[in-house]
């Protein structure tokens, strides 16, 4: 024993090479830029150069001055809607699909592949494809609705205050359901089969099995997915940007915090930049997401204790 230990100690300094490359790459290309971006929120800017350190002035402007405070609240509320709707359209649907595929069914592999397919497409492709599908005059969706006698449901989907945000969320979910379905399937497969057998022998019907055994057993996975969905809903950018542009049109009805950030930090086609204010939005976003992530960590820790 002692001999081996000594040998290990001799080589020990080499062990730090394990952590070095990851720490270095991540530190230089992610953490440093993030911190630097956060610090920008304490400066005033002239165009794109830091001018003065102004403390919390950017945050005060953001929360008290028009039009920023209205934009902020509007975008913030949309992130919440994004979250709640995604829980239904993505999590619940993917859980149902996972449960069905996990049950006795033919063609499991086909359905799994089919549902996962959209995840392979680029947001660019998806955004463009759905802009056309949802087009009011010649889009496939409205044409289809008319063809099956549901004219009453046709809408200018992406041009209506009440449907634009929902449409974007549906498209996002369309692309993401396959992935969360696989995570749930993984959770389902991990449940010991003997538990089900025991339950059936006790005479439990399939609904009892579902609600008394299956759902509680994948509870942790559901919890983690919910928090991940929360983070995703607050970081969401690509779909809104690709489909509705950086101002989250029409009339800001799809504006979220990241698009609001984007407009301020990079300017619009004819609007100037406000990097300091934009960075303040980013910092607020950091804080919101940081709090949610702490919840994830807490859940993970508890799961570890349970084992």
């Amino acid at each position: 024993m002692t001999k081996i230990k000594r040998k290990n100690r001799y080589k020990k300094h080499l062990v730090h090479l394990f952590i070095l490359p990851a720490a270095l790459l991540y530190g230089v290309f992610q953490l440093y830029p993030l911190i630097s971006a956060a610090l920008n929120s304490f400066y005033s800017f002239n165009g794109f150069e830091r001018v003065d350190f102004i403390g919390f002035q950017n945050f005060i402007t953001l929360f008290t001055e028009k039009p920023y405070k209205d934009f902020f609240l509007n975008a913030f509320s949309h992130n919440w809607i994004y979250f709640f709707v995604t829980v239904i359209t993505q999590l619940i649907i993917s859980l149902i699909l996972a449960l069905i595929i996990h049950s006795k069914i033919k063609g499991k592999e086909f359905f799994k592949s089919m549902f996962f397919l959209p995840k392979l497409l680029s947001v660019i492709v998806i955004g463009f494809l759905f802009s056309l599908i949802l087009n009011p005059t010649r889009g496939a969706l409205n044409t289809l609705l008319e063809a099956i006698g549901l004219e009453a449901f046709t809408r200018p989907w992406l041009g209506d205050m009440s449907t634009a945000l929902l449409s974007v969320i549906f498209v996002d979910s369309w692309a993401s359901i396959g992935f969360s379905m696989l995570i749930f399937l993984a959770g389902l497969q991990a449940i010991d089969k003997e538990i089900f057998e025991a339950a059936r022998i006790d005479g439990a019907n399939s609904f009892t099995v579902l609600f008394r055994i299956t759902i509680p057993m994948i509870g942790p996975a559901l919890m983690i997915m919910t928090v991940l969905t929360f983070i995703g809903s607050f970081e969401t950018f690509e779909y809104v940007f690709a489909m509705q542009g950086s101002s989250g049109g029409p009339y800001y009805s799809t504006d979220v915090l990241t698009t609001f950030f984007y407009r301020l930090a990079f300017g619009t086609v004819d609007g100037g930049q406000a990097i300091g204010l934009g960075s303040a939005v980013a910092v607020v976003l950091f804080i919101i997401i940081g709090m949610a992530t702490s919840i994830i960590l807490f859940v993970f820790k508890r799961k570890d204790f349970e084992r």
């Binding site: 490359p21 009011p136 809408r155 041009g159 990079f266």
Partner: protein, 430 residues
């Protein structure tokens, strides 16, 4: 052994990556003697036309090569900002008109062009679109943009309609078209900037044209003025005649409605003429450059200076870049530009061979008014133009009233003006 192998691989991998880094630098000194200039633009659609123009320049100046590098218009500002702040990359850059160019010039990223040969070929008022707060000119304006109503001559003939000369004519024509089941007007309202454009094309005769503009510049009127309200009344009245669900259509969609002859009229800048002609060569396109004011023989045409090109301060090849600027200010370039792109050049003395372009050019020379929103309200983050056009979407959707729209826009204009003052003071402190 294994261990050493692994460690060795590890170092080779990372040193290899590090060593590789230096090779891909973009400044790219080619082996030839010619100096290569890099030119940034947002006109991806004009790539081939630009390349022809550049070829003409390179023929005269064999020791200079120009690489035309266009980016997506919506991302251009970000890319340009990054490139300028970093001080590497392009030698020649395309500048957004008015406040866009001014911001960049005031930050000291551009070379003043007041002394270059041929700059007097360009009208003084056009140069204003590319001037800094110090009054120096930092960009050579390329073209004059003109907002228009395009109309389908065949459809108009079919129903015996004349192109409208006044707002009242326009309503009459639209009613007639609508009665016959033709969508009178197609507008891509999903892209808010097109609503500003629509406002600029349709309403100058409602807000009183140049009188109102000069009242604004002199501070005698603001956006809450009753004349502005009249222009919004007109915008509202228009709703009936625009394609259904137009707030869900982008520009490409609304163009398609026009060139597939479902809609009889389409509003946009003259720069879309070539696109429309290419999309459907059988289409007979007419233009209505604007409406007539009472007691005037010439329609009031909204025009503005489009992007200009400037030279980046500190470029290694300033001399060569300035040579290209001189070329851009020359009538030769103006002619090439007009011929290749069917656009109206900012250089004086250029004649258009394309009949429609000629018609547009003459109308604009006869009687014109600036693009109010762009020229007077482009300032701020967000800009008042942005607030106004997004607000127009809100108005069409019934989210805000016309009064609220004007109030919000005016509020933002005041805020933006203050913002601008602060910036200037800070520069003086430095």
């Amino acid at each position: 052994m294994k261990e050493k192998l692994l460690l060795g691989m590890f170092f080779i991998l990372f040193s290899g990556v590090a060593a590789g880094c230096g090779n891909g630098d973009s400044s790219g000194n080619s082996n030839e003697d010619a100096v290569e200039l890099e030119m940034y633009s947002w006109r991806t659609e004009d790539r081939s036309a630009y390349e022809e123009i550049i070829a003409a320049f390179e023929e005269e100046n064999p020791d200079i090569k120009i690489k035309f590098n266009p980016f997506e218009a919506t991302e251009y500002n970000t890319i340009l900002t990054n490139a300028l702040v970093s001080g590497t990359g392009p030698d020649i850059v395309q500048l957004r008109p008015y406040t866009g160019a001014r911001t960049i010039a005031d930050n000291g990223y551009l070379v003043a062009l007041d002394d270059i040969e041929g700059i007097d070929n360009i009208d003084e008022s056009y140069l204003e679109a590319a001037q800094g707060s110090d009054g120096n000119t930092y960009g050579i304006p390329l073209s004059l943009n003109i907002g228009l109503i395009y109309y389908n001559i065949d459809i108009f003939n079919e129903y015996g309609l004349e192109p409208p000369e006044t707002w009242d004519d326009f309503i009459e024509v639209s009613q007639e078209l609508k009665k016959n089941g033709v969508t009178p007007l197609s507008v891509g309202g999903r892209e808010a900037w097109l609503l500003s454009m629509l406002h600029g094309v349709i309403t100058p005769t409602a807000y009183g044209g140049n009188d109102f503009v000069s009242d604004v510049t002199e501070g005698k009127a603001d956006l809450t003025d009753p004349r502005m309200m009249e222009s919004l009344d007109r915008m509202e009245e228009l709703t009936e005649y625009i394609a259904d669900g137009f707030l869900a259509l982008d520009d490409a969609d609304s163009q398609a409605l026009f060139y597939t002859e479902e809609a009889a009229m389409y509003v946009n800048g003259d720069f879309q003429l070539e696109v429309l002609e290419n999309s459907n060569p059988d289409l007979s396109i007419g233009v209505i450059p604007g409406f007539k004011e009472e007691g005037s023989d010439d329609p009031l045409v909204m025009n503005w200076v489009d992007g200009s090109y400037g030279v980046v301060e500190g470029t290694e090849h300033e001399e060569e870049a300035l040579k290209f600027m001189e070329f851009m200010a020359s009538p030769e370039f103006g002619q090439l530009f007009t011929d290749n792109l069917s656009r109206v050049s900012a250089v004086e003395g250029v004649t258009a061979s394309h009949d429609t372009v000629k018609q547009i050019m003459e109308a604009s020379e006869a009687n014109s008014t600036p693009y109010l929103m762009l020229v007077e309200y482009g300032l701020g983050s967000p800009s008042t133009k942005g607030i106004f056009e997004d607000g127009l979407q809100g108005m069409y959707l019934g989210e805000i009233t016309k009064e609220e729209l004007l109030e919000q826009s005016q509020e933002n204009a005041e805020r933006a003006a203050e913002e601008g003052v602060e910036e200037l003071e800070m520069i003086e402190e430095d």
